[in-house]
């Protein structure tokens, strides 16, 4: 004890201070509650799940929704129907730009209310060209306006989608029936897919979407319209929870002019096949060779 010198005392004090600072830095861990359950953390990729595991995950999502919002919801994970390949056509001669499709998407898919988010964006363009750069999405005058036509744009579920190629963790992929889907629990939020999409169809959740409990649509799909957390990508799913039961997407249901035609490409008697065979059909940004499933056509 007699050989304690100034250096030892300073070392001891610094060590005590360091230990105290370390303990203070670790203190927040005491209040940490994991957002995910252990089962969710250890689960496999969606495509590797069997029916029971998938059902268990859906039940956990329902329980989480009940805990956070106090609402009973039914989360389904419908499988693709055999022999079905979806496609969608939109009649630009008839669309009047009323945005009722975007509004129907907003309510069907439990979108964030303050930003009036929707997977569909209606672009007002000048007749005679498709100059998307000069298009207007925030028009607020009676429609259809003179000299303008209206082009709603949503995810095209491309057959050669650039978004699925750039995802570093395969949180987004194309299913057998053609739908490009996102597993919100697998997405890491890097937003590469948002950059890759040439149609600006992808939306990122900077914050958790705000939806009043009484307005939540309780018919939900695991890959489609369930309530998304903050920090994940999302996009139009052609209302997977509806179309895989044979229903039309919410946007077609809402369209008052009948400009939208959804159907099964594999059915030779379907409306969509007749449109593609008999109408003046084109696709957006054909030079990028994304081979979309969303077609635009004119009556004349």
């Amino acid at each position: 004890m007699n050989n304690i010198n100034r250096r030892d005392v300073l070392r001891g004090a610094a060590g005590l201070f360091g230990a105290g600072a370390f303990a203070a830095a670790l203190a927040p861990l005491a209040q940490w509650r994991p957002e995910q359950s252990v089962e969710d953390f250890l689960r496999q990729h969606y495509k590797a799940l069997n029916a029971e595991e998938l059902a268990a995950i859906c039940r956990r999502v329902e329980a989480e929704t009940k805990r956070k919002h106090g609402v009973d919801v039914q989360v389904s994970a419908l499988q693709p129907q055999t022999g079905v390949h979806y496609a969608y056509a939109l009649n630009l001669s008839i669309c009047i730009g009323c945005r009722l499709c975007a509004q129907a998407c907003h309510t069907e898919n439990n979108h964030d209310r303050p930003s009036n988010n929707s997977y569909i964006r209606v672009i007002e363009l000048d007749k005679g060209s498709i100059n998307l750069a000069s298009g207007n999405t925030t028009y607020d005058h009676p429609v259809p306006a003179e000299g303008k036509y209206y082009m709603p744009v949503q995810c095209h579920h491309c057959r050669d989608a650039p978004c699925t190629k750039v995802c570093p963790c395969e949180a987004t992929w194309q299913e057998e029936d053609g739908l490009v889907v996102v597993d919100y629990n697998w997405c890491i939020g890097c937003r590469y897919c948002e950059v890759a999409c040439p149609y600006q169809a992808r939306r990122f959740n900077w914050q958790e979407p705000e939806v009043p409990a009484e307005e939540i649509n309780p018919q939900q799909g695991y890959l489609s319209n369930r309530l998304r957390p903050a920090g994940v990508m999302e996009k139009c799913t052609f209302c997977a929870h509806r179309v895989r039961q044979g229903q039309v997407p919410a946007c077609q249901e809402a369209c008052p002019t009948g400009a939208r035609v959804f159907g099964n490409l594999a059915d030779p008697n379907s409306d969509i096949r007749w449109v593609l065979d008999n109408k003046r059909v084109f696709i957006l940004k054909e030079d990028l060779q994304t081979h979309p499933r969303f077609f635009y056509f004119f009556d004349t």
Partner: protein, 204 residues
């Protein structure tokens, strides 16, 4: 190391078993068959009736309509009225803006319960679309193939009911031009509107 046939057989066998196992795993995912065998059900909106709206409602709030024959079985037609403005009584507020069409282009003066084609053939009111088709053939062709007028309900008729429009659901026969309307609210994205400054919003 010496070449041992038994080991080779083992390796080949294990490879084959692996392949068979992987294939059978892949076949476990079952897909639902399209079509549940339900009878197709189609509802048409906008069916025409040989009735006219009186503008009044009954005690339950339902619109009161009367049959055309209520009056036209008693009254003689005011010939040769081409437009409602030429009429002395009744149908005063009716606005007709349908090209060069006159009353009797569609209405049947011999039987006001029916309509008539250009060649005089009688057409019952539920088949009013056949009148539109006389001039608007391409639209009728598109409609019959599902490319005009829309579809609500199910794209797959075997899985549930469908609802479609007739011409009259969207186009008033007397003034068919589609009216302009105000669009519903558009997107309020972060880069389109001024950011709201609040503590929760943070730095954008």
């Amino acid at each position: 190391m010496q070449h041992r046939p038994v080991l080779c057989i083992f390796r080949v066998l294990s490879l084959v078993l692996c392949a068979v196992g992987c294939l059978s795993l892949g076949a476990q995912e079952t897909s639902e068959e399209a079509g549940s065998g339900a009878a197709p059900s189609l509802t048409l909106r906008g069916q025409a009736e040989a009735r006219i709206d009186t503008g009044a409602v009954d005690a339950k709030g339902q619109v009161l309509t009367i049959s055309c024959m209520t009056c036209h079985s008693m009254l003689q037609p005011q010939t040769p009225a081409q437009h409602p403005q030429q009429l002395q009584v009744f149908h005063q507020g009716l606005s007709v803006q349908h090209g060069g069409n006159t009353c009797y282009s569609c209405h049947n003066p011999n039987d006001y319960n029916t309509l008539r084609l250009a060649d005089g053939r009688r057409v019952p009111f539920p088949s009013a679309m056949d009148l539109c088709s006389q001039c608007h053939g391409p639209a009728r062709r598109d409609y019959d193939r599902g490319a005009h007028g829309g579809l609500a309900g199910h794209w797959d008729a075997t899985q549930g009911p469908q609802t479609r429009n007739t011409c009259l659901a969207c186009h008033d026969a007397h003034a068919p031009a589609y009216q302009a309307a105000l669009p519903v609210a558009g997107p309020r994205d972060r880069f389109l509107v001024q950011p709201v400054q609040s503590e929760e919003a943070g730095h954008e």
